[in-house]
């Protein structure tokens, strides 16, 4: 974060407010999380559904991918819930 600390900025250099900075960061974090999730799901579902890559995606492969994405999202929910509502 050193590149952000400019001390007293000279006249003419635009200052970003804390709120604007936080908003921008929230957007970037959300994008990074979404990107990571996409890559994870792609890897898992490719493994499960595309056993022998052909010259095109078959109908059953496409619908497998769709179901797989739904299931993976569901699995994420189940795991999240198990982690945070476990009573010890």
């Amino acid at each position: 974060m050193d590149s952000f600390s400019s001390g007293s900025t000279g006249a003419g250099s635009p200052q970003i407010s804390t709120d604007e900075l936080m908003d921008q960061m929230k957007v970037q974090f959300a994008q990074a999380y979404a990107q990571e999730f996409l890559e994870t799901v792609r890897g898992k579902c490719f493994d499960k559904c595309i056993t022998k890559p052909g010259s095109s995606l078959s109908g059953s492969e496409s619908s497998c991918i769709s179901r797989c994405v739904d299931r993976y999202i569901e699995a994420t929910g189940i795991v999240g819930k198990a982690l945070f509502s476990a009573s010890r």
Binding site: R71, A75, V79, G80
Partner: protein
């Protein structure tokens, strides 16, 4: 409007986001591990009850294992 980049508000925001990132990482890793362990066949239109039970158990047992490992390592120090 506080233009200070060292504001307490920003620091608080950053530590909240850091915690969110750690939680996200844990859920992401755990889902990946438990998916591999529990979902052995081609994904269907819904999970069987044994599949969803497995996912849930997997997450909980993983946390148990984490605790055991931490205690063990601590007892060695």
């Amino acid at each position: 409007m506080d233009p200070s980049l060292n504001s307490a508000e920003l620091q608080r925001f950053l530590s909240q986001e850091k915690e969110k990132a750690m939680v996200n990482e844990m859920v992401t890793n755990l889902t990946s591990v438990c998916w591999d362990k529990c979902i052995t066949s081609t994904p269907g239109n819904k999970f069987s009850s044994s599949e969803s039970a497995c996912l849930s158990h997997c997450a909980q047992r993983y946390m148990d294992v984490t605790l055991i490992i931490m205690k063990r390592v601590q007892s060695m120090q």
